[in-house]
Symmetry: C2
Subunit: 315 residues, 2 copies
């Protein structure tokens, strides 16, 4: 990812890993600007001294959280997304100064309509805020199967962002994610907000992206019956919104809170594994999976070489 989008061309998203040590690794690859999804992520990144320019790519209206962000912004550049007069006033009253205008580029979520972006930027400037530019997130296009069709739709979506950028002014045009990382060569954006590429999951793996799976939940077989096995990794340790996890060589029957019941792939000989053996579970969605764990263990082969706190969890 760093080869394709070096330095400030990539604003790595911390929401995918929630770990300042991984962010630090991304910084070592030349990225000093970061994207965050929660106040806690911004505060944690600043406390760890990672990054120089932190974007909260999300709307916040809670005064206490905004004030905490304003405090961080005394020593560190903090920019927040806004998409309404309400969010601008809330950020301004708390003492935040830098904003991006969040544009709706087709995903039915946050973001102002492109044609209203200019007047919202004017409103922010009247509150003495610095409008650094625009952001949009084409999240509704990440999983379009066909690469060509995805590229076409991203191009159309980014025309909405380009129009808004013209009306808003500022230097930043920020968008994108892991699923569209190679579709922005001819779009207006000057930075990509990708996160999942660093760890990956089976959902993004469907797109045949050039990023490898690097994160697993390690399960131990705790029970073996006539026809199935049970591992001690369940739905409390896996993001489930994209469905069941994957285990090489096995079919997943179902997940319970603390268990997953599996059977050897059809056509396979009877499995040779026993109670006490370990299996790697590949999450279907990496972001919520990381958010469920306190620590990540770094392994080289079978050796644990380090343990990193997943320290940006919570809100």
């Amino acid at each position: 990812m760093s080869l394709r989008h070096p330095g400030a061309k990539l604003r790595p998203h911390t929401k995918a890993h929630k770990c300042t040590q991984i962010a630090n690794l991304q910084q070592n690859y030349g990225h000093k600007t970061f994207t965050c999804a929660t106040p806690r992520e911004i505060i944690g990144m600043a406390a760890a001294g990672v990054g120089e320019d932190l974007l909260l790519a999300n709307e916040v209206v809670d005064h206490d959280r905004l004030s905490a962000l304003a405090k961080v912004s005394e020593n560190q550049r903090v920019t927040i997304a806004v998409d309404s007069e309400y969010t601008i006033q809330a950020a301004s009253h708390a003492g935040l100064r830098d904003v991006l205008i969040d544009i709706n580029v087709g995903l039915k979520r946050c973001g102002v309509a492109p044609e209203l972006a200019g007047q919202l930027a004017d409103f922010a400037r009247k509150q003495k805020m610095t409008v650094r530019g625009v952001m949009g997130y084409e999240g509704h296009l990440m999983m379009i199967d066909s690469h060509d069709k995805r590229k076409q739709r991203v191009s159309e979506s980014m025309q909405l962002l380009a129009r808004a950028a013209q009306d808003v002014g500022g230097e930043i045009i920020s968008a994108g994610g892991t699923g569209t990382f190679d579709l922005h060569d001819s779009t207006c954006i000057n930075e990509l907000q990708a996160g999942s590429y660093a760890l990956m999951d089976t959902h993004y793996a469907k797109l045949n992206l050039p990023f490898d799976q690097s994160c697993f939940v390690l399960g131990t077989i705790i029970s073996k019956s006539d026809g199935w096995l049970v591992i001690d990794v369940g739905l409390k340790s896996l993001g489930m919104d994209h469905g069941n996890p994957t285990i090489d060589g096995y079919d997943v029957m179902f997940c319970s809170d603390e268990h997953t019941t599996i059977v050897p792939n059809k056509g396979q000989a009877e499995t040779k594994v026993s109670v006490g053996d370990k299996l790697r579970v590949i999450p279907a969605h990496i972001d919520p999976t990381m958010a469920m764990h306190e620590m990540a263990f770094l392994v080289r082969g079978e050796e644990v070489i380090d343990a990193w706190s997943i320290d940006l969890r919570g809100w």
Copy 2:
């Protein structure tokens, strides 16, 4: 629940709330025996001094975790489920003394086949362990729509447990959950392992049980567009394996990591809520939802009257 299953007839399951303060409330209602799903839950309950007789209703093979449980058992009765010679030896080597034989009563998960339970109990006694009895979990029957059919199937399932209990000996015959709380009057069991009843969720609500929803994730509207609203409660704060959450008066379009996009129910007039307003989000599955949050806030009306740590999270 305490009226129907007073005292030791109910062994409340901590996995549904993961909060020693709620367990303490259950103790105040007369329950001193508790069910846990993870070593951390046992250790946390003992540290908080709640309960007198803690059952880990799950198999564990990790020596470090078993040793930590054995340490707890020096001051507190700790019983662990076993379903194989391997799990018995692992528990025995770590210094645990009390076991229940976990019986497969039809759910394809842990549990020894009923006809093998007696010899497994003999094996445990040869390891100088105390076999306190049997447990089984009819989790595959919890969501059968028809009350009569559910009762019939539970009755059949518990015949498997009764047979095993006869072969195993001991005093405890433990099974059940919230979905079968009123179906055991004529079964063999002498204690019910129910947990969800205390907080409830929309999944169990489908069964029209006499328990009210008491837990909500409080969302704030952070964005309002022409046709939809966005709240700051997303799939990182909600167990998603039973599907989307529910919000009174709204239809949920979709959940993202940190957002849920909603529209007013069809036929409703345009909503009057604004950015900054708060809505109560009802989880579809309570157990994983509680496991995602650090604190529970107790409210009476609009007033926050206490804050309780969800201190049994993790493994």
